[in-house]
């Protein structure tokens, strides 16, 4: 029997009431991010939380969690009576590739200069001189996951928490927060799909937007489109030229690559 027919007639049609007064009475009381950091450190010993400032006028600083203790911290944030961040709104991946940083360094060195001697003649003399030199070094890249938390109960937020992976190639694991907030289920799948962050402890980590056989991670900054997507049935000069440039780069994510692999 259809479950709905039983209730027919013995239920008020307008089952809806207004939550207006309730929402007016609760003014948002949010601790500052520094206070939240202190509360986390008191509750989760050795949490390794780091304050990340945000120079934008948005005034949304964030907390960087250590991946090892992230689930414990997240559970605390959700279950603490005062914080009560019960609503995970947004999960976002960010790619930070390796970048070459040029740094200006002041270097003192001794150079020989011609100066006026005491008797009016030119004399060569060693002089200490400070010059600016540009030195370059490579900062290793990483993948980052950013979570925006709100509280439905206390009506405050956002609290921004973030985690980063060790690198972009072989150590891209982060703990999944899906056991804490179910809202992360599809969003973490999307971050895995598009950025390649592997969430440990995620119940159903599969590609969500791209097809399962797809190899690469399209949202990464160094992603290059495959040369043989199916919308280009006839390779024309431009495509062939591009393919020539990409020779040697491992692709394997285009339609024809997959067809070839299937054979």
């Amino acid at each position: 029997m259809n479950p709905g027919t039983e209730g027919l007639g013995n239920r008020e049609q307008k089952t809806v009431h207004s939550g207006d007064e309730e929402s007016r009475s609760q003014e948002p009381v949010l601790k500052t991010v520094e206070e939240i950091k202190a509360a986390i450190e008191a509750a989760v010993p050795g949490a390794g939380v780091e304050f990340v400032s945000n120079p934008s006028p948005s005034a949304q600083p964030s907390l960087r969690l250590a991946p090892e203790s992230a689930v414990a911290v997240a559970t605390f944030l959700r279950d603490d009576a005062e914080l009560a961040f019960d609503f995970l709104s947004n999960v976002s991946g960010v790619d930070w590739p390796d970048k070459e940083v040029a740094e200006k360094v002041k270097v003192t060195r001794t150079v020989t200069k011609t100066v006026d001697g005491p008797d009016g003649q030119k004399v060569e003399q060693p002089v200490e001189e400070t010059v600016e030199e540009t030195r370059k070094h490579v900062e290793p890249g990483f993948l980052e996951a950013v979570y925006h938390l709100f509280s439905v109960e206390k009506k405050h937020g956002p609290l921004v928490i973030r985690m980063r992976t060790a690198n972009r190639s072989d150590q891209t694991e982060l703990p999944s927060l899906t056991p804490v907030w179910r809202a992360a289920e599809f969003q973490e799948r999307e971050v895995f799909d598009l950025y390649g962050i592997v969430y440990t402890g995620h119940p159903d980590l599969r590609r969500i937007l791209m097809w399962p056989e797809f190899k690469d991670f399209p949202m990464r900054k160094d992603y290059v489109d495959p040369d043989d997507f199916e919308y280009e049935p006839t390779a024309h000069d431009e495509v062939l030229k591009r393919a020539e440039e990409h020779k040697g780069r491992e692709q394997g994510s285009g339609i024809r690559d997959q067809e070839a692999a299937a054979k």
Binding site: G4, K14, H17, N90, R182, P203, D204, M210
Partner: protein, 390 residues
């Protein structure tokens, strides 16, 4: 991958859908509903495992409309993404514009003049009304009332779209908001036409409700079907009318105080049961509240500029930093997360799509119901695939 066996059972401790065991008679049937199925509102697939008529597993499959909107936006300037946000939830392009404009305004600390905020509120509430009306129309159509109720909704939607067209130049792809204001000012004739349409809306909602709310078929098929518990709704990040139909009092218009919503008298309808009928009812009552907001906003619309004089259009380069801005879109919480590295393009551009996240609980709501109810439960979520897949 088979629907019946998923990895979901291997991880403990998450708020997972209940496991429904087949009754042991007969074989399980796996059905792919979609991607080309009239009830999926686009291209979307649900892989369901059926025990007779009963759904015992359901896995949504996305991505048929994926075009990597976020990547494209990272390769375009801030303003160039504004028309592209129209294509996310193409029923509600003006609220998409607003959410994006709000996030960028947070990123650069941009103020918006009073008149522009009023215009934004008017357009957002008109958008809400036409979205709710047509989503109810589609829901009724999926119940088998083919065409007529949907056309009643579309008749009213058409009047609102005509207003959008005369103001912005386009019925659906409006591309109207700008960082710090709006693109063109509203004219006196447009306001008169809007007042006329708004004056006709209560009669439309009355008629719509008289035809539907006590309809026996609607009550029989919606009451007690697809129940969503409030604790699960909050934990799963469900937002918008779906969250409020489960009785959770959370409306971003009241919580975040954006866009002068503080100045208007309106109430937030909440459901008691969290079933399809409550979702229907919350949408009807939200339309009535939106009409109230519209009447007040149209009455109090102040004179003044529609763009902030300090707003920068050429050479728009926000300082390095990040911002998350969100609004109460008709389908739920629509948010934009932006990271700037000081350049003219966003370094990271993320859309928080309410349609996708509201589908997290689809399996939970559908399990144990007949396959015919899946169509209704899915319809009551109110999604647009342009936003789900991005």
């Amino acid at each position: 991958m088979s629907v019946v066996e998923t990895k979901a059972e291997k991880v403990a401790g998450w708020n997972r859908p209940p496991v429904i065991e087949p009754d042991g008679e007969g074989e399980l049937l796996e059905v792919a509903m979609g991607p080309h199925h009239p009830s999926t509102h686009g291209v979307f697939r649900m892989d369901v495992a059926l025990d007779g008529e009963r759904v015992i597993r359901l896995k949504p499959v996305f991505g048929y409309l994926h075009r990597n909107h976020e990547k494209i936006a990272e390769g375009a300037s801030y303003l160039a993404s504004m028309p592209y946000t129209d294509r996310l939830d193409y029923f509600c392009s003006l609220t998409n514009n607003w959410a994006y404009a709000l996030a960028v305004e947070k990123l650069v600390g941009q103020q918006v003049p009073e008149r522009a905020e009023y215009i934004r509120v008017i357009l957002a509430e008109l958008t809400r009304i036409q979205n709710h009306a047509s989503s109810i129309g589609f829901l009724i159509q999926e119940m088998g009332a083919s065409g007529t109720p949907l056309m009643y909704a579309f008749k009213e939607r058409e009047k609102i779209l005509d207003l959008f067209e005369s103001l912005t130049g386009s019925r659906m792809m409006c591309n109207y908001m700008r960082f710090g204001g709006c693109r063109v000012d509203v004219s006196a004739p447009w306001l008169d036409a809007t007042r006329k349409v708004v004056a006709g809306l209560p009669a439309f909602v009355d008629e719509f409700e008289a035809l539907l709310s006590t309809n026996e078929i609607l009550m029989a098929r919606c009451q007690g079907v697809g129940i969503l518990r409030p604790d699960l709704a909050v934990n799963a990040g469900v937002s918008g009318p779906m969250l409020r139909a489960s009785g959770v009092n959370y409306d971003i218009r009241k919580v975040d105080h954006y866009g002068f919503y503080d100045r208007f008298q309106f109430r937030i309808p909440l459901g008691d049961h969290g079933d399809i009928y409550d979702r229907y009812m919350v949408r009807v009552l939200e339309m009535r509240e939106s009409i109230k907001i519209l009447e007040q906003a149209l009455r109090e619309l102040p004179a003044g500029p529609i763009m902030d004089s300090k707003a920068k259009i050429r050479g728009f380069r926000p300082k390095a930093g990040e911002a998350y801005g969100r609004i109460e879109a008709p389908k739920g919480e629509l948010g934009f997360y932006l990271i700037s590295d000081g350049g003219s393009n966003p370094y990271r551009y993320r859309v928080r799509p309410p349609s996708l996240i509201n589908l997290t609980v689809l399996e939970d709501m559908c399990l144990g119901h007949n396959v015919a109810d899946v169509v209704l439960i899915f319809g009551s979520v109110d999604i647009v695939l342009g936003e789900v897949d991005r």
